[in-house]
């Protein structure tokens, strides 16, 4: 239930952000878009932070807590395959993250919708006052509407969920061999940050090899890239905040990649957990 306290904090944050006006507010031409971007950026930043923190911390606690309370003994002494136990636990965390993100998304969409409507009216008033041409007004209205509730925005929130899915499965994998919750959380957070530099590091290393790289080395770097997920691929979140369109193909590829990472980590988690002794 404590998870939902965060949703209360999020709601307050959202309301505060919707009333917040930038210092340059309504002085430059694109100020309406900027206001909406600030609103989306605050909301999606909070959503991303919540989902990642929750995915790591909650997953890291799952097995140690069950073990400490001996609930694990009562569950595994039933005819429950260990894979089912792991998948069930992971699914529980992911369902909770998904429901929380849906609620936050709902709140963001409602506030964003009303804010966009308000700003569209402001733009129309501006057009009347300054005598804008019909084309110019159309252009402005379309620019403002693009920063409102769109499918692109939903794709960005989808990417936040995907990132949380990858981190939850990674934390689950670490917790199957880790001896403490703190270790799991620290390692997961380190991998999370490393994941944002994986691509840069790989490119830099591959280009610094003057004589070119052998096939084996390439395979090795690809293997390392598998262990450390490449979170730069999830940068569509920033684009969606700015209202840029995300092609469906990229979103689908991201979804497949997420399933692949989560699948690999879950299989590895099962591999270590299936013979673990309690």
């Amino acid at each position: 239930m404590k998870v939902f306290y965060f949703l209360g904090v999020f709601a307050v944050l959202m309301l505060a952000a919707s009333f917040f006006e930038m210092p340059w507010s309504r002085t430059t031409e694109d100020s309406a878009e900027q206001e909406l971007i600030v609103l989306k950026s605050t909301a999606m930043g909070a959503m991303a932070m919540f989902s990642i923190l929750f995915a790591i911390a909650a997953t890291a606690l799952l097995i140690p807590k069950d073990l400490e309370d001996r609930t694990l003994y009562t569950i595994l002494s039933k005819p429950v395959p260990r894979l089912d136990y792991l998948i069930g636990k992971l699914a529980g965390v992911l369902i909770l993250v998904t429901v929380s993100l849906l609620l936050m998304n709902g709140l963001l969409s409602i506030i964003l919708h009303f804010k966009t409507e308000e700003l569209l009216l402001v733009e129309m008033a501006k057009a009347e006052a300054h005598g804008w041409s019909a084309e110019h007004l159309e252009l402005r209205l379309s620019a403002v509407a693009q920063q409102g509730v769109t499918w692109t925005l939903q794709a960005g929130i989808g990417a936040i969920l995907f990132k949380a899915m990858v981190m939850a499965s990674l934390a689950l994998l670490i917790s199957t061999f880790s001896s403490s919750t703190l270790f799991t959380i620290v390692i997961a957070v380190v991998i999370y940050f490393m994941g944002h530099f994986t691509e840069d590091a790989r490119n830099y290393w591959l280009h610094s090899q003057s004589g070119g790289v052998s096939k084996e080395v390439k395979l090795m770097t690809q293997g390392i890239a598998l262990i450390f997920p490449d979170f730069q691929l999830y940068n569509i979140i920033d684009s969606t905040i700015e209202g840029k369109k995300v092609p469906q193909g990229i979103f689908t590829r991201l979804a497949i990649l997420t399933l692949f990472y989560s699948g690999i980590y879950s299989v590895l988690a099962w591999f270590t957990f299936r013979k673990k002794e309690f």
Partner: protein, 298 residues
């Protein structure tokens, strides 16, 4: 009676790696035991003697270093062997946010139960452990005795043929302890095999018909309880309302006999536990009568 043993442990050895040492710690050392269906077997020993390790190996929670464990002929490392097992760990805790009823529903679903059968079993188990009144209360607010009883109910939810109890009355007050023992006796009457680990010897003596004594990971003595505790060369006679003259004559008869020796004579004693339970019963009855009188006056 079935021919397949409910529990078959063959030369079980379990070693744990010791940090900073090359040698391993041997928690269980060549333990073999067989429990036939319907028996109540008590494994007794001091703390750290290997009782819980043996149980965990039987539940597949630990992999034997050597030897093997079978439950109704199925290897205990296989998940399907657990279809026949109900387990109550020592000092169990359950998900605190769930009520007693939800806890049982959760465990029933883990055993593959659904629909009407699930509801019936949950009701039956709650009634059996006398927790109908607390079924909607969160488990987080349960007393130690109630936790133990809901633990027993979850262990029995899928009607297993073997029930494994690790220190089932640890930390429970004498009344709660008696209720749990009564439940074990009920299970025995229903033909359920019970494998019980405890270091409370009196408790084991009351409910078990077979006993194994484990020390430092080795079974040092095992067999039917009556055979193990009987003192073969002594005879006990209990006489009611015997006067001093009768007793003197009995003593004289024994003294006249060629082989028999008189050892002692005295009044048999009740146990402290029985005394406590009798007093608790009387006290409850007095309180109820006083309440009734108060109610009548009002």
């Amino acid at each position: 009676m079935e021919d397949i043993p409910a529990v078959q442990i063959n030369h079980l050895v379990k070693e744990f790696p010791s940090p900073f040492r090359k040698t391993k710690i041997r928690a269980v050392d060549d333990v073999s035991l067989t429990i036939m269906p319907g028996e109540v077997y008590g494994l007794i020993g001091p703390n750290g003697s290997g009782k819980s390790t043996t149980m965990k190996a039987l539940l597949g929670l630990l992999r034997p270093t050597a030897g093997s464990c079978y439950v109704f002929g199925k290897n205990s490392l296989k998940t399907d062997s657990r279809q026949e097992i109900g387990f109550l760990p020592e000092n169990p805790y359950f998900y605190k946010h769930l009520s007693g009823e939800e806890t049982l529903r959760f465990y029933a679903k883990l055993c593959g139960m659904r629909g009407k059968a699930l509801n019936n079993h949950v009701d039956k188990m709650l009634e059996m452990v006398s927790l109908q009144d607390a079924r909607k209360r969160r488990v987080g607010g349960y007393s130690k005795g109630m936790l133990q009883r809901i633990g027993l109910a979850q262990a029995l939810i899928h009607e297993p043929r073997l029930i494994i109890l690790d220190e089932p009355t640890a930390g429970v007050d004498p009344v709660g302890s008696r209720e749990i023992r009564d439940l074990i006796v009920q299970l025995k009457d229903k033909g359920v095999t019970v494998f019980l680990c405890s270091h409370l010897l009196e408790q084991v003596q009351e409910v078990c018909d077979h006993v194994g004594i484990i020390f430092n990971g080795k079974i040092v003595k095992a067999g039917p309880l009556e055979d193990l505790i009987a003192i073969e060369d002594q005879t006990e006679i209990l006489i009611k309302d015997a006067g001093p003259r009768t007793l003197a004559r009995i003593k004289a008869v024994i003294a006249d006999s060629e082989n028999a020796d008189f050892i002692s004579m005295g009044k048999p004693r009740t146990t402290l536990e029985r005394l406590f339970l009798d007093e608790a019963k009387k006290s409850n009855a007095t309180t109820m009568t006083a309440d009734q009188k108060g109610g009548d006056r009002a």
